[in-house]
Symmetry: C3
Subunit: 682 residues, 3 copies
C-alpha cells in the first residue's frame, strides 16, 4: 500500500473543538491525506498526574477520520508538563555553563533522568494502549526534533554519573581509559571513576578524546531514550510505522544510530531558515553566494540536507514531516514566499526521495512562541498562499503518486560520519575549516556539474557507486583501509580528502606516515601539511596544465606508487604532489591533499567523472538542479529568470504535457519540469 502523499501538521488543541470538522473538510478539499498531531499535547492528554483526558483526542481523530484523513500520532515527550517538572525538577537539563534550565518552552528534559524514563514509559504506554490499533492512526512520531536547542548534551549530575557507567562499559578499566585518552598529558590520569566529569567548565580546552567520548555518550543517551519509546510502541502498536523528525545537518547526534531502529526517517525542511541559519556554516565565510530567488531558500543547501537525510537509511524513501509553507519565525529576516514556491519545494522533496510531504502548519497560531509562523491558513482562518499552492497541486497528485516508492538514481556517494565530524570540529586547526563545509564543497560541485550525489554513512554498501568521495575520513584503521581497498579493487573510484587517516578510531594520532592506514591504497605519503592564513595561496597546476591555487589547507605529497594529478608549482611545497591517483585493481584511488575551492573542484571533477564512468544528467546554469528518481528526471529552476539546461538523456517526454523533450530544456523561473524516461532512455 502506498504511503499518503501530502499532509499537514495540525494542533487541534489550539482551536475550539467546533472548528475541527471545518478544518478537516478544508484539508480534504485541498487534497491532503495525512495529518500529524499530538506531539506537544502532553498537558492536554494528562492534565494532572495519572488523570488522562482522551476525549478531545478521540474527537479530533474522529473529525479527521470523517474526512478520510490518516493520522500520524506524536509522543508528547518533548514537552513534559508543569506538574511533572514541579514534582521532579531534576528532570530539567543543565547546560554547559552549569545552569539548570527552566520550564517555559520545550525540550526541558535530561535524557538520562530515570524519573523521566518512568514518566515517558507511562505516557507512551497509555497513548499506545488507547491508539495503537486506532484505524486512523497509521504511524507514530517519537518526541520532536531530538537534540534541538542544544539539548543533546546535558551536564547534570545524573548525566555525569551515567557517563561514568558508559565509560566503564566501554573501557572496562581506568588504565584502558587513561591510555585511550592520553591522560598522561597534563596529568589528567584518573585513579577513580568518580573523578571523571563532563568536559565543561575546564580552565582551558578539555582533552579532545574526553570530549569526543562525551559527545558519543550524549548521542547514545538520546538513542537509548528513543528506544524506550520504540520498545513500547512495537509491542502495543504492532502494525504501525515508527519514525521521528530529523533536522538536516544537525551535528550533535549520530543520526545513523538514531535512525537505525526506525521504519523510515522523516525530516523537517525549512529552506529559507536553513539558508539564513545553516548556510553560513556550509559556505566558506567569504564565499560568494549563488544568485537565487530570495524566497526559495538555497537549493544547494536544501539539496545537501535531502541527500544527507536520504542516506540515513541508505536511500529508503522518507517523509518530509514539516515542510515550510510560508514564512517562518526563527531566522533573521524570515522572508515570505511567492506563488510557486511551495510547489517547487514539494516537487524538490519528491525528486529527492520523499514519498510524503507534510506541511507545517495548518493555521497560524494566535499565541505563544510561534505567532509569527505562517500556516496554510492565516490567523483569521482565510486561506494563505500555502493553501492556495496546495490546491493548485491537486491535479499533479497522480503524477506524484507514480513517483512514490522509487529509488533515487545516483552513481556517486560522499561518505559522512559523526565521529569524524566531532573529532574534526573539535580541533579544526584552521578556524574556517569545518566538517560539513568540507562535505558541502564536494557535494555542491557535483550537484552543479549535473551529477546527483548521495551522502551516506561510511559504513554503507559502496558497491552500488561508481565514485565515492570521502572528504574527511579522519578516524581510520586497517579495517577501514581494507574495506575501501576492496571497493577500489572491484572497480570503484575513490577520493580521499585532506587529513584522511590522521587518527585512529579512538582519536589517537596515527604514529605512521600519513595518510596512515590508507598509505598503501593511495600510494603516496603526506610529507607536510600547511594551514594557510587568509590571503596566502600556493600555486598548483592540474593534469591540463591549468593554473590553480591551494588555499586554507595544503598537503605536500611524495608519491610511491601513485601519479600526481595536481602538483605545486611554487611556495614551500614546490615540486610536491597535491593530488595523486593510483590504479588499484580495477579501480582508482585518488588522494586530494588540498582544501577544495571551486576551481580545484571543477578541475578534479572534470577529470574524475569520465574516469569513473559517471555521466552528468545535464549541463546546468547556476540555480538549476537536476535529479533522477525511478524513471523520472527532474529539472528545477530556483532563480527569478527562465533558464535552460542541456540534457544528457534521450527519449524523454514532459510528464505534464506529454511533449518530447529537446536537449535544451527550458524551465520557467521558480518552476520544475518532470521528464518521463522511455524504456530505451539512457
Amino acid at each position: 500500500m502506498k504511503p499518503p502523499l501530502l499532509g499537514v501538521d495540525y494542533y487541534p488543541e489550539h482551536w475550539p473543538a467546533d472548528r475541527w470538522a471545518t478544518d478537516a473538510r478544508m484539508m480534504h478539499a485541498a487534497g491532503l491525506s495525512v495529518v500529524r498531531i499530538g506531539e506537544f499535547a502532553w498537558a492536554k492528554m494528562e492534565p494532572t498526574e495519572g488523570r488522562y483526558d482522551w476525549r478531545w483526542l478521540d474527537e479530533a481523530l474522529e473529525a479527521l477520520a470523517a474526512e478520510g484523513l490518516q493520522v500520524v500520532l506524536g509522543t508528547p515527550t518533548s514537552t513534559p508538563p508543569a506538574w511533572l517538572i514541579q514534582k521532579h525538577p531534576d528532570i530539567l537539563p543543565v547546560d554547559a555553563q552549569g545552569r539548570r534550565r527552566n520550564f517555559g518552552s520545550r525540550r526541558h528534559y535530561c535524557s538520562n533522568n530515570a524519573t523521566y524514563h518512568e514518566y515517558t514509559r507511562r505516557i507512551v504506554t497509555a497513548l499506545a494502549h488507547r491508539y495503537g490499533n486506532h484505524p486512523a492512526v497509521i504511524g507514530w512520531q517519537l518526541d520532536n526534533e531530538f537534540g534541538c536547542h542544544d539539548t543533546a548534551r546535558c551536564y547534570c549530575e545524573n548525566c555525569a554519573a551515567a557517563f561514568r557507567v558508559w565509560l566503564k562499559d566501554k573501557y572496562s578499566s581506568l588504565d584502558a581509559l587513561n591510555a585511550a585518552w592520553g591522560a598522561v598529558f597534563w596529568s589528567q590520569s584518573y585513579t577513580d571513576w568518580a573523578q571523571i566529569s563532563p568536559p565543561n567548565l575546564t580552565v582551558t580546552e578539555a582533552n579532545s578524546s574526553h570530549v569526543l567520548d562525551w559527545y558519543r555518550f550524549s548521542s547514545d543517551s538520546v538513542v537509548a531514550y528513543a528506544q524506550i519509546q520504540i520498545s513500547i510502541l512495537r509491542q502495543l502498536a504492532p502494525d504501525r510505522f515508527i519514525t521521528t523528525n530529523f533536522m538536516g545537518p544537525f551535528p550533535d547526534l549520530d543520526y545513523y544510530q538514531l535512525s537505525a531502529p526506525l521504519d523510515f526517517i522523516a525530516w523537517n525542511s525549512y529552506p529559507t531558515g536553513y539558508a539564513e541559519v545553516t548556510g553560513p556554516t556550509l559556505y566558506m565565510p567569504d564565499e560568494p553566494r549563488p544568485k537565487l530567488a530570495y524566497d526559495v531558500g538555497d537549493p544547494y543547501v536544501t539539496g545537501f540536507c535531502h541527500d544527507l537525510m536520504r542516506g540515513l537509511k541508505d536511500g529508503l524513501p522518507y517523509w518530509v514531516m514539516e515542510q515550510q509553507a510560508g514564512s517562518i519565525n526563527w531566522a533573521n529576516t524570515n522572508p515570505g514566499i511567492r506563488p510557486g514556491t511551495v510547489r517547487l519545494w514539494t516537487w524538490h522533496d519528491l525528486a529527492a526521495g520523499a514519498d510524503t510531504v507534510v506541511y507545517f502548519r495548518w493555521r497560524a497560531c494566535l499565541y505563544a512562541q510561534e505567532q509569527y509562523h505562517s500556516g496554510l491558513l492565516r490567523h483569521d482562518a482565510a486561506p494563505d498562499l500555502g493553501y492556495r499552492e496546495v490546491l493548485r497541486m491537486k491535479d499533479e497528485q497522480p503524477l506524484m503518486r507514480s513517483i512514490q516508492g522509487a529509488r533515487v538514481q545516483v552513481d556517486v556517494a560522499i561518505l559522512a560520519d559523526y565521529d569524524d565530524l566531532w573529532a574534526l570540529d573539535l580541533q579544526p586547526h584552521n578556524h574556517v575549516i569545518a566538517y560539513w563545509r568540507h562535505l558541502f564543497a564536494y557535494h555542491r560541485a557535483l550537484v552543479r556539474a549535473g551529477v546527483p550525489t548521495d551522502v551516506v554513512s561510511k559504513q554503507a554498501d559502496l558497491s552500488r557507486y561508481k565514485l565515492v568521495i570521502a572528504p574527511s575520513l579522519l578516524l581510520a584503521d586497517d579495517v577501514w583501509a581494507a574495506r575501501l581497498t576492496a571497493y577500489v579493487k572491484a572497480g570503484g573510484t575513490l577520493v580521499l580528502g585532506v587529513r584522511s587517516g590522521f587518527k585512529t578510531p579512538s582519536n589517537l594520532v596515527t604514529d605512521q606516515p600519513l595518510p596512515g592506514p590508507f598509505r598503501e591504497l593511495v600510494g603516496a605519503t603526506v610529507e607536510a601539511w600547511h594551514s594557510l592564513p587568509p590571503g596566502v595561496t600556493y600555486p598548483l597546476t592540474d593534469h591540463k596544465h591549468q593554473m590553480l591555487t591551494a588555499a586554507i589547507w595544503a598537503e605536500g605529497l611524495s608519491t610511491q606508487s601513485a601519479q600526481p594529478l595536481m602538483f605545486y608549482t611554487g611556495g614551500p611545497l614546490e615540486g610536491q604532489a597535491a593530488v595523486t591517483v593510483k590504479v588499484v585493481g580495477q579501480g582508482r584511488a585518488v588522494y586530494a591533499g588540498v582544501w577544495p575551492d571551486e576551481a580545484v573542484l571543477n578541475s578534479l571533477i572534470s577529470w574524475l567523472l569520465p574516469q569513473a564512468g559517471v555521466q552528468p544528467l545535464a549541463l546546468l546554469p547556476e540555480g538549476v538542479l537536476v535529479s533522477r528518481r525511478g524513471s523520472f528526471v527532474f529539472l528545477f529552476n530556483f532563480t527569478d529568470a527562465p533558464a535552460t539546461a542541456w540534457l544528457n538523456v534521450t527519449s524523454a517526454v514532459d510528464a505534464f504535457t506529454g511533449q518530447s523533450i529537446e536537449r535544451a530544456a527550458a524551465i520557467a523561473a521558480r518552476d520544475v519540469r518532470v521528464l518521463s524516461l522511455g524504456a530505451d532512455s539512457r
Copy 2:
C-alpha cells in the same frame, strides 16, 4: 513662582567641608540658582544602622543657602550601604543568568524585597523629617535613574513569588492565565501557581505572553517601589515637588506609569553619550548618519529624547536634571566639547520644553567610577570649559526666564506605548525591526521637514493635534479603534503603521483580518505581510507617480472603502496598495503598510502635511532644527558650518538683537537663534 533656571549637580560629600563655601560662591557667581545633592549619600547620612549623621548635610545646605542657592534633595536609595547589604544580602538583585550581583557599584537592590522596602521607608522618613520643611529645599528627586544597568528586572526568588501574586491579581484563575498565554502551546499549561517562574533560562525562547507579563510586572514593581517613597514625602514634605530623573528611550520601564504620580518629570541628557550608545539603536544598521559637528551629539536623537520625555506628562514643562557639560566617561570615545556646545545644549533644552537645566557635575571627581567624567570645574578646581560656558550665558538668563512656563507648540503627535514596545521587540520577526527605530524614523522625517512633533502616550488627549501618527499600534481592540475613529471623525488625520492591530491587548494575535479592529477605520485589509531580506525591495509608486521602494517590511493591501496612496508596481504584491487613505467624517485615516525609509517618508509627509493643515515652521538644511515654544521660535545649527533656514513665520525679531528677521535666517555654526514672534505673527 517661576522655577529656578540653571543649576548644578553637586556632591559636597566628595570634598572637604571647608571647600563648600567657595564652591557655593562660584556657583552663584556663574548665575546658577539650584543645586541637586544627596542622591548617593546614604552611607554618609546613616553610617551605621540607625545612627544618622545630619551635620554634614545641614552644613552643606547652609553653605549653599548662604549664596541663595535652592536645593533639590535626592533620596539615596539607589545606593544601599555596605552594612545593610552585609546584614541582608538577599536585597542584592539576581540577573537573568541567575547570578546574584555583588555590592560595589550602585542600584544593587531588588525592588520587591520587603526588607529593602522597610529600610527605604526608614531612610526616606528620616530624611523627610529633617529636611521636609527646610527653607532651602524646594523639592525631591526619588532614587536615581530607576532601572538603569539592567536593574528593572530582577530574577530572584522574592521576585518570582511577587510575580505569582501579581498574576493572581490580574487573572484570578489559572484557567484565565492559561488562556491568555495560550499555554496549551507546547504543554505550558499551569495547574498550580507555584509552577510559574520568571521566563529566564528556558531551553529556547519563552512564551511571549509570559515574557510580556513579566515585563509589565517588573515595571509595576518599580512604580510601586517609587510610590513607597512618594507617600512618605507627600506627608512629610507637603509643599515640595517630587520628581525623578528619566533616561530618554530607556525601554525597560513604563515611563508613563512611573511619571504619573510625580509633579513633573526630569531627565538626564548626555548628547554625545546618546549619540554613541543609543544612536545605533535608533538608526537602521546601514543608514547613513547626518553630518554634524562631532562634539554636539546627534540633535535628531537628543530631540527625539526631549519630545518623548516632554510627552510623559503631556507637555508639562520639565527639568533636565543632568545636562552634559563636558566629556562623559561611559561611551566609546567620549569626545570633548568645544566653546558654544554647552550653550547650544542649554538652549535646546529650553526650546524643547525644559524650564530648568541642571549641569552634571560641579567638579570632576578625584576617585572611583567617574574619574574621567568632566565637571564644570576641572579636577584641580580650575574652571573647565563648562563653567566658562555657563558664565557666558549669564546675560541670556533674562530671555531664558521669559520662556519658562510656556508650552511647546506642536501640531503633530507620534503615539508611543510600552506594551506595544515590549510586544514588538520580543518578536520583531525581522531582526533589524525595533519599536523605537520605527518611531524615530517618522519623528526624524518630521523634524527634518521643519515640523515639531510630540511623542505622547497612546492614552493622551489627541484633540489638540492636527496629525497623529501611530507607527506601531500593535496591541489594540475595539475600544482603541473607537477612540481613534472619533479623533478622525472630528477632523484629525491619523496614520497607522505596519502591524497595527495585529494583536489584542492581551497579546493574542487577532483572529480577524488585519489591521484587526482598525479595519473599518482604514477601509483596507492586509492580504499579506512580507519581511524582506537585505537587498530585496519591492517597487512602489506614490501619488505623484514617483518611483519608490519598500524594504524591510511590506504589506499588501486590498482596499474596501479606502483609496491607494502608494501601490506596488512589481514583485509579488504587484497591484496591491501599500499605503491607503480613507476620508472618515471630517478627517482622514491613512494606513502605511511599509517600513518607512527616508524617500517613502518624504513622499508621505509631503502629502500629509497640507492635507492635515500642518505648516512647517521652516525649510531646513541637514543639522538645523527648528521649534516653537510660547511666542518664541528657535533655530539651531548643529553643524560645523554656517547655515540658512527659510522661515515660514512673519513678524519675528531676533530676541538677542531686536533686529527683524528675514525669510532666510542665517545661523552660525554651533549656534542658536531665538526669534520673538509679534502679536500678528503666524
Copy 3:
C-alpha cells in the same frame, strides 16, 4: 661556565621508555644540549597520594644524561592530579562569573588555597630531595606559565578572605581604605572588613581603586605562591638555577615582581601565535600591518616581547624556554613554517639577549590537547622541518656560543609598569586606547628607525640610557618626579606621554594641574584633554613646519618654561602646544601631548635622536631589523624578498664569511647576517 645553547622540551612520559634512548641520541645528533622535562608530570610522579614513582624519571634522566644532555626540571604544580582535586575540590578556581572551573585541562588551582600550598610543598620537596643534587639537573622551572588561561585572578571564597587580609595589611584601617578608594562615592564606604568582596558581578562597573587593588592582590598571590616553591628549592637544590617561563606582554601579573627572586627569566616565544592573537592588541584596530613573510610571525611584535622580557631583570641574558619550531595549535590559522624560519627565530632570540633557546616540543603528541602542535619530529617520529633546521644550525653553534653572556647594547629605554597598565586599561576612556598599544607604538617607531630599544621597569636605573620614553606614567608623585628630574639634569633626554602624572600611586586623580608632579619638570600645563572619535583629527605642525594630525587623544598645553615642539594649527586647541621641550640641567624634558601615530612618531624621533646623541645602527626597509649584542651587529630580513640595509657601523666583517661589510648590506629573504665589529668599530 657558559649556559647550554640549544635545547628541547621533552615529555618522556608521553612515549614508551624504550624510545627514550633513541630520542636522546637524535637530540645529541642535532646538537641539542639541554632538555626541559617534568613540568606536567605530577600524576606520573605521585600516582596516588603519598606514593611516589621516581623510577621512570630516574630512567629518563639517565637516558638523557647518557647522551650528555643537561636537564631543566619543572615542578609539576600547574597540573594537580585528579586524586588531589577529588579529595580537595576547593582547590579548583572560581572565575569572574562565579563558576567553579572543572578538572580536565591545566592550571586548575587557586593560588591562595592553603591546602594546595601544603600539597605544593610536599611535591616540590619530594622532587627536590630526589633531584636537587642530580648531576644532570642544572636548574629548575617553577610551575608553567603562571596566570595563563585567566588564572591569575580567582574569585573563590578563599581568595575573598585573603584579599581582606591583604587589604588590612596595606591600609591598617577601614578609614584609610575608604579614603584611598574614594568609597564615599556611591555610598561604597565599608564599616566592616567582611563587607569587602572581589569586584566581580557588580551591577555596573566597580570602583577602579577596588579593582586595581584586586589586581595587585591577585598578582601578589601568585608571586607568593611561587615563593613557596623557591624557598624549598633554594634549600634543597642549592647550586641550581631557578627560573620560570613568562609570556611576553601578558597583562595580569606584575612580571617585575614575579621575576625578582629568579636567577634569570625564561619566556615562551611563539611568533605566529603572537602575531595572530597578540598582534591585534598591539596595533591600532585600523592600522595597516607591515608586509612580512606569512610564516615568520611579526618581528615587531616578537621583538617587543623580547625587549620587554629582557627588561624584567634589567638586561640579564635569559632563556627562551619554549621556542616555536613548527606550526602551533592555539591561534586562528596556525600557519606552517618554511625552511629558514626556525633558524631566523633562533638568531633573533640570541641577538635579542637570549643565551639559550629551547624548542617546543620534541615530537608531535599523539593525543589530548596538543595533537595539532608540531614538534621537531613528526607524529611518526620522522624528522620534521624543525629538526632539519636545528641540524643545519650545528655549524653555526660556535659563533652562537661566542655571543652568549654578552649584553645587548641599547641607548634608549621605554618605561613600563604594571600598576600603570592596570589603572589605564581599567579606564581607557577612549575604547581603542590601551597601555601596551601605547608602548608598542613608540617601540616600533624606534625599531623601524634602526634604534634598538629596551623596555624596562620604571624603577630601573636610567643612567645608562641617552633617551628614556615614558609613554604612560599615569600614576606618579613627587618622588617619581624627582627621580626623573635628576635623570634629565644629569644629561638625559626624557619623553613623557599623554596622561602622565594624571593620578597618584594610590589611583586618585591629582588635584593639581596636569601633568601633576611633572609640571615643573616639563614646564608646561595640560589645559584640556580631548578624546577624539573615529575620523576626527586636529591639525598639527612640527618643528620643520611639517603638517601632521592628532587623532585618538589630544592635549592642549600652555607653556610656562618650555618651548613648543609641535602645536595645533586648527580645531578647538588651535594655538596651543601639543608637544613641548624644556632644557633642564644638562638634559631635556619633552612632553608629548598626543596619541602618537606613525607620522607624529617619525617627526618626534627624527628630532629626538640627534638631540639625545643616539645614532641609529642602520637605515632599514620595512621588515628588516637590526640589533647589537656585545661586539656583534645582527641584521634580520623577515620578508619574502631580498633587502638591503644601510649600516652606520664601520670596520665590520661578516661573521659567517669573514668578508668585510659595505655600508649597503644585502640580506637574503628570511635570512640573518651577523657582523663582527672590529676593535675600532663605531
